[in-house]
């Protein structure tokens, strides 16, 4: 260990090996698959909403990857079947998440299909779930004395809004809810072989 060059070459080679396994290998398997029949590409509004989801940092509390019944009761909680790589072909960047301070959202559009529910919940989560610790997002809304004709008025209970004012959703809130409602992977799973079946395998053997 008296020379720098061999050390640098070998350590970089070890990283290249790891990259081959962890990045290139899965890429070859996953990037060639087709979109499932039941999955639509995002609309422009949904993509805008997705950008809002990223910008507000929703991913730090909400995962989008239900686990298999062999591992955890995610399905029983209404979060959906175990997801597979095919469910994410239109996702860039991915938003799998690593935290469940809030519930999993991969199928929230199927579980909670009401726009009014989501808008109210975003304006003040505690208006719907009193114990919730989710941030309120009042800045995605406007408080107006008189709502215009094309305004989307949010049915916020009176005690959660400024007196005598209507809460109207801004475009950002509408897009964000559009995206949340689009989260629906209830069609039959495809390419189940490409997800982590380490738990299923253990049950069988």
């Amino acid at each position: 260990m008296n020379r720098a060059l061999p050390l640098i070459v070998v350590t970089l080679a070890l990283l290249a090996l790891a990259t081959l396994f962890l990045v290139a290998g899965p890429a070859m398997q996953i990037r060639t698959i087709d979109a499932p029949e039941g999955l639509e590409p995002y609309t422009q509004a949904q993509l805008n909403g997705r950008a809002e989801y990223i910008s507000q940092g929703c991913v730090y509390c909400h995962s989008q990857q239900p686990r298999s019944p062999e591992q955890a009761p995610d399905g029983l909680r209404g979060w959906g079947r175990p997801s597979t790589p095919a469910d994410y072909v239109y996702d860039q960047p991915h938003l799998l998440g690593t935290m469940r301070t809030g519930p999993d959202l991969l199928n929230v559009g199927a579980r909670l299909p009401s726009q009014a529910w989501h808008l109210t919940h975003l304006y003040q989560p505690r208006a719907i779930v009193p114990q919730s610790i989710m941030p309120a997002y009042p800045y995605l809304f406007e408080a107006k004395v008189q709502a215009a004709e094309d305004d989307v008025v949010v049915p916020v209970p009176a005690r959660y809004r400024p007196e005598g004012k209507f809460i109207v959703a801004r475009q950002a809130a509408l897009d964000l809810v559009d995206y949340l409602l689009s989260l629906d992977r209830t069609y039959p799973a495809e390419r189940v072989d490409l997800r982590d079946n380490g738990f299923a395998a253990k049950e069988e053997s």
């Binding site: 260990m1 008296n2 720098a4 640098i8 070998v10 350590t11 070890l14 090996l17 790891a18 990259t19 962890l22 990045v23 290998g25 899965p26 890429a27 398997q29 996953i30 990037r31 990223i54 910008s55 507000q56 940092g57 929703c58 991913v59 730090y60 509390c61 990857q65 591992q71 955890a72 009761p73 909680r77 597979t84 790589p85 469910d87 994410y88 072909v89 996702d91 860039q92 960047p93 991915h94 799998l96 690593t98 935290m99 469940r100 809030g102 519930p103 505690r126 779930v129 610790i133 989710m134 941030p135 009042p138 800045y139 997800r195 982590d196 079946n197 380490g198 738990f199 395998a201 253990k202």
Partner: protein, 532 residues
């Protein structure tokens, strides 16, 4: 299916064992040109055997003895690195405390987007990882590499431009994240357009260290140098590949994301921390590490295994079974590397408990090294599928991440800065009592932080797995522990303010003292270490 998974697992396990066996063979038959006496590379001739600590009254050298050969521009560079690093620490800590409070006071500061939890948390992570720890770690390398190689730092201007570019780019990064522009992946939030400048800054950091290595006046590269050399090339490779725009997408992007994010810990922060610990522990105590050849096993096993552990963040997720299993196996194999480092560092520090009492910098560094062992063993356990099923998606993981990044890397860095700055500036620490206060504040704060989140996270995981309980219970059960985390985090932040104040007084404080110090400095340069 079963056959394939089992075979792959067995294959990767066997390949790893063969690699380790080959490594042990090479070490024991002396294929590497190192001897135990190379471990004394941390000492100059005639040094060693005595406590060396500028903050202790029993030290071998004066508290304001400056390192010989410190040029003005080299000193200014180091000051810029450590001052900006500390500034990022203070900002990052405040962001962290705000984010923590928001988790149990959700209606606090909800009026504007930059203050929302999702952005505060992101500002916290990016400030402490790319600001505090990266700048502090590289700053330490800017001092340790030339010191070990017995030359002054080469191409200092490159390094200084790097410091300026890196800081400005990171500042731009956190400002745009606060404004709502980010790339959307954990650890990779800074937009790639700004990442280009971070990469340029990083290259400006690497060049002077390479020139310094080439100009070295010693034959042997001490273990600290192995970690630094490797990290200097690992990080740019990781950072550039992971940030390439338009290359990754979908579930595949998740594998690239966690390949990167775990390697930032394993192949960047860990080598920066371990490299520093391998220097400061023997240097301060005055005795070489326990077994120099064992450090080879620790280093190469880290290079081999740590680089492949990232997929344990996706256990049970939508990525192929084989790649998850590979990472689980390698996470467990990391135990080999960790035990090797532990034997080397802890036998020395725990065998010299008198030095813990004498030296505050040693206390920081040696405790940090012990936290590395604990965090790594805990990490190997968390990668095991059965354990991960409970802890994945919970605050348990957050506690673990802080045990590694804070308990280990930040603590080593604190100790290192307390040791280095008097040697760099020729000025003694103006408020020695504040070092002790800093130590106890962050130790107490972090103990509260870690214990609270570990218990809270475990309860959260158990509740989430219990189908008979509503999911909401898994959130509610964490609330008292989240409040505990805020308390611990606040104590840690106060500790950081004490640290920053001590640093500020060192540079800006009473002028009289400076004049006296300047005299001391000249004398010390001329006398005791001129033979070095």
């Amino acid at each position: 299916m079963n056959f394939t998974i089992g075979t792959l697992l067995a294959f990767s396990f066997a390949a790893s064992l063969i690699a380790v066996a080959a490594l042990i063979w090479a070490i024991s038959t002396q294929q590497f040109k190192i001897t135990e006496s190379d471990a004394r590379a941390v000492f100059d001739e005639g040094e060693g055997g005595k406590l060396d600590d500028p903050t202790s009254s029993h030290s071998d050298r004066s508290p304001s003895a400056q390192q010989p050969g410190m040029s003005g521009e080299w000193r200014r560079l180091l000051i810029v690195m450590f001052v900006t690093s500390t500034a990022w620490l203070v900002f990052g800590s405040v962001f962290g405390v705000i984010a923590s409070l928001k988790l149990h006071i959700p209606d606090w500061l909800t009026g504007s987007a930059p203050l929302t939890f999702g952005r505060m948390r992101t500002l916290h992570l990016n400030s402490v990882i790319y600001g505090f720890l990266s700048l502090g770690g590289v700053g330490t390398a800017f001092w340790l590499v030339p010191t070990l190689f017995k030359v002054s730092l080469q191409k200092v201007r490159f390094a200084m431009s790097g410091a300026v570019v890196w800081n400005l780019a990171l500042l731009a990064g956190v400002v745009v994240i606060a404004m709502g522009w980010n790339d959307g992946q954990e650890w990779l939030e800074i937009p790639w357009q700004i990442d280009i400048f971070l990469a340029v800054g990083g290259a400006c950091f690497a060049i002077p260290l390479l020139y310094t290595t080439a100009a070295r006046r010693v034959n042997h590269i001490y273990v600290t140098g192995w970690y630094y050399m490797a990290a200097l090339f690992w990080f740019p490779a990781l950072f550039i590949l992971a940030n390439l725009p338009g290359v990754h997408s979908g579930a595949q992007q998740a594998t690239a994301n966690w390949w990167f994010a775990h390697n930032v810990l394993g192949l960047w922060l860990t080598p920066l921390g371990l490299g520093a610990a391998y220097y400061f522990i023997p240097k301060i105590i005055g005795k070489p590490i326990y077994s120099y050849r064992l450090s080879l096993l620790g280093f190469w096993a880290l290079a081999l295994f740590y680089s492949q552990v990232g997929m344990h963040h996706l256990i049970g997720g939508p990525v192929p079974t084989w790649v998850v299993s590979l990472s689980v196996v390698q996470s467990v194999m990391m135990v080999i590397s960790v035990i090797a480092v532990a034997i080397n560092q802890h036998t020395l520090s725990l065998g010299n408990l008198w030095a813990w009492k004498e030296s505050l910098p040693l206390r920081f560094v040696a405790l940090g090294a012990i936290m590395y062992t604990l965090a790594s063993l805990q990490g190997s356990l968390e990668a095991v599928r059965a354990f991960n099923t409970v802890t994945h998606f919970t605050h348990y993981t957050v506690a673990h991440a802080h045990l590694g990044v804070y308990g280990f890397v930040a603590m080593v860095l604190f100790g290192g800065i307390y040791y280095m700055l008097p040697r760099i500036t020729g000025r003694a620490w103006p408020m020695p009592w504040a070092i002790s206060l800093h130590f106890w504040l962050v130790v107490a704060g972090f103990a509260i932080y870690f214990i609270a989140l570990t218990i809270g996270g475990w309860l959260q995981g158990m509740a989430m797995l219990d189908a008979s309980r509503d999911w909401l219970e898994s959130m509610e059960v964490t609330i008292p522990y989240l409040a505990g985390r805020s308390l611990g985090g606040t104590l840690m932040t106060i500790g950081h303010l004490v640290f920053a104040a001590n640093l500020a007084v060192l540079f800006l404080g009473r002028t009289r003292r400076f004049v006296e110090d300047a005299g001391d400095t000249d004398a010390s340069v001329a006398t005791p270490r001129s033979g070095a």
